[in-house]
Structures are given as C-alpha cells and as structure tokens.
Symmetry: D2
Subunit: 145 residues, 4 copies
C-alpha cells in the first residue's frame, strides 16, 4: 500500500477567532493531499483525470480533530487508499505537525466514479487503465470487501 | 426534541469547477445552522456563549452527500441536538433543497465544552444555566448513553 | 439610478485570529450583493445570465476598510451600477452595520462581458435585451464616460 | 528595494463554476506572499510580529485581473514594499504563471500599524527595531511621499 506525504503551511485566512485553524479547512487540506497523491503515486493530475472524462465527487467525509493546528504551522498529511472497488474509492488521511509531531487530525473521504454528466460509472469498464493504476496502489484486499 | 430550521441561499464563490457546491462548504452551512440553533432555540448567540467563557471546539465532523447543491439554490438545514453530556454535545443536520425537496446532505458535528484556554470543562459545574438551557432541548435520553 | 439593499449576517468561519472578519470576505459579500442586484433590480438571476451565454468575469476589484466587521454582525450592502458600456459594467458597494450604523467598507468591482469561451462580447449586439435591462438602471451618464 | 518570490499551486476548492480561480482568492495569495515576505526578507514571521504586540490590519486592497488562473496552476507571486511610513505600509504584488509566463494579476494592499487593541501606533516609536527592519527593505524614497 503506497503512502503519499504532503507538506504545507497553514494560512492566516484559515484561522478563526478562536485562534486556531477553522475545522472546515482540514477537508481542503485532504483535497490538496489527494491531488498530490494522484500526481505523485499515480502519475496523473486530477486535471488529467477530468480530461479523460472521469469525476470523483465526494459521497462521504469524516474528520476527527485531536490537536488544533495554528497559523503558520508546517503540517504533514499522509494519504493512503484504504479501499477501492470498480465504482468507488476511499482515501485515509493523517495530519501531524512538523515541529512537535503533534497529532492534529485524521480523516476519510469516499468518492464515487462518475462521468462528466455526474452519472455513476464502472471505472474498470469506462477507463481500464486508470482503474489499474489506482487499483495497483490500493490495499490489495480492497475488492473483497 | 427541538428542531431549528435555517434557510440560506448558496453562493457563487462556494461552487467549484465541477459546477456544484464544493463539499467543504456543507460544514460551513452546519456552522451557520448551529449558530442559528443557539440563537433561536436557546436564546443565546454563540457570541454570548463565548462571552461567558465557554468554547465549543469541534472534535469530530461527518457528512454524507446525496444530491449536489448548485449555485443560488435555496436550501433548508434542519438542526437537532442528538446527544449531550456534561462534557460534550452532538448536533445532527439535514439539508434539503426548497424547490424540489431534494435531499442534499446530512451530517453530524461533535463538540467538547472548553474554557477560553481550550481546557475541557464540565459545563454543568462551570456554567449550570447554559447547561440546563441546552440540556432541556436535547434528546431526553441523551445522558443515559 | 437604482439601489439594491442586501442584508446578511457575518459567519464564524469568516473571522480570523485578529477577531475580525477576514478582509477577503468583503469581496464575497460584494458578490452576494451583486447577485441580489441582478435578481431584485434586473429580474434575472446570475444563473439566468449564464444560461443565455453571458459571463461577467472580474477585471478589477477595490475595497477600503473603515471599521472591522465582527462575527454575527448584521450588515447592509448597498449596491449601485456606477458605470456601464457595451463591453463592461462597474458596480459600487457600501457596507454598513445595522446595530450602530458603523461604516464598515466600500468597494468597486469591474466586469467584462464575455461569452462562454471567455471571449469579450459587445453585450448590446450579443444580448440586446439584457443590455437594455442593465443599462436602464445604470447611471444615465455612463455611456458618455 | 527587496523582492520576495513566492511559489504556490492553485487548489481545487479555489475554482468556481466558470472553471477559473475565484477572484477573491488572489487576496489570499497576496496574504501568503506577504507572510513569506516577512519571513524571508525581514526574518520575522507574522506570528512573531503579532507576538511583539503589532498588528497590520488592511486598510485598502486592489487587484487587476489579466489572465484567469486555472486549477493546479503553478503561480509565482513577486512581492515588494512600495511605500512605508511610521504609521502604514503598502505592498505590491505581481502574479505570473510558471508554465507559460502568463501575467495573471497584480495587486496592492495597504496596512495600518496598530497595537493589539486595534489602536493606530507610530511603529518607529512603538517598535523601533521592527520599523528599521521593514524600512531598510522598502523603497528608499518612500518616507518623502
């Protein structure tokens, strides 16, 4: 199972008046990490994926917040593919802070495969190459589930 | 169990290039609805809550996406308190679209009660009045859980 | 010259750790107000405008910040069309706070008229009806400028 | 006059349904670039600046949009201090795209120096060292203006 390590620095506009990074931004960090996963591990940008007619709309998201990230924190997002089938894919994320190793948050995003008209597709039939690329890096047991 | 009905209109900047409302915004709608819940059902703004030294940082969030909301959609968010104890509170949300009744999304947010230094507090001891106000509108079985 | 009055309540996620509404959000409030202007004064939603093949991408924006808006402030945005030609339109905005009349900010946004391929168009030739509707509410001297 | 070069990649959630980066995000890129300017050129993070009791709230912002940035574009923001006095500072920004050198946008942000109570301060009196650090990299003619 491949891991993608993405590093970024939290931004001022992402803070709120509690003095911490607003919780909604973690889902945006997950998206940055997922984009990076495709680029780094699969060798395709999400733009490339869209260009061959595939969309990966979100069907479910989940996040647990452990330690609040603060402004200008360097954070690391570790992304893996937890599970994948011909119709959907699930990513796992763990966010830690560089300077003290604090466990910031962990999350999950589930995606359907659709065409440009937002119709569900069987990725293995519609774009077999992309399916194979994704499947080869996912947890090998995932199709059984 | 009290319900709060919040109506809002989706905004252009909330769309993404898939032509739908970006999934991270649902958590922001939940926040608007939660603020409205406190104001309407409890009679306190979240500003009032902060002013008496209480914070409600997020510990966990979850959302399932059913039908994508589009730009300029009038949506309704129905908010309830699912469960509450002396140290935390959990809200449930359902989002539907006005014009066709489409089921857009449903979600959950869990919050700890903390003081201004982000230390966990027992709300019943720290601010008994606020605790009673919240508890009286929550699901009556919630403390048993 | 027609005025559109838009009211909204500032949101928690729009605050930053200075405890005020982050300055970038004013441009988002302007957008909400502009959408409202089209709907209320012109009788077309921006969705309708897009549906007849017209886009109004931003070419320039400007904002002066007077008094910081805070979380949960009820604010009023007063929108007018300052100037309009066959190829562009300029909106003016003034933001005030309801409870104390504080002058929050004022701004300007300039837009080109383009087709769906982002090519500049002469709106009077391309969509004469929309042009007339917009022009009739703009400052009557605007074409001379 | 010192220049700071900041590189970043545009994010999916920053796009809108026109298929381009939403215009409000440029002000957020300017903020990232300004933070980077302080860190790289002045040797202080904005967090450090806040920690010695200084705030730099925005008083005016301005942006001209030339070529729309798209999702996953690598962009470069070149930041300079245009002008500085004991009570305020003005930054200039130019955004270009890496792959084709396209001129994306240019902008200006003006900031007052205030204390933590948002009162205007004379930075030269209040924090002479920070004033000298900033002033030494600004346009040398700026105090005359």
């Amino acid at each position: 199972m491949e891991k993608c390590i993405t590093k970024l620095i939290t931004r001022y506009y992402e803070t709120d008046q509690m003095g911490i990074i607003h919780h909604s931004n973690y889902y945006r960090y997950f998206e940055v990490a997922r984009t990076d996963y495709l680029k780094t591990i699969i060798g395709m940008t999400y733009k490339d994926v869209e260009n061959i007619g595939v969309r990966m709309p979100l069907t479910e998201t989940h996040c647990k917040y452990k330690t609040p990230a603060l402004y200008d924190d360097e954070i690391t997002i570790t992304t893996t593919v937890r599970e994948m089938t011909v119709v959907r894919i699930i990513f796992d994320y763990v966010i830690t802070r560089e300077k003290d190793g604090a466990f910031i948050a962990e999350g999950v995003t589930a995606h359907a495969f659709t065409n440009t008209e937002n119709r569900p597709i069987n990725l293995k039939k519609f774009r077999p190459e992309l399916f194979q690329q994704l499947f080869s890096v996912a947890n090998t047991d995932s199709l059984e589930k």
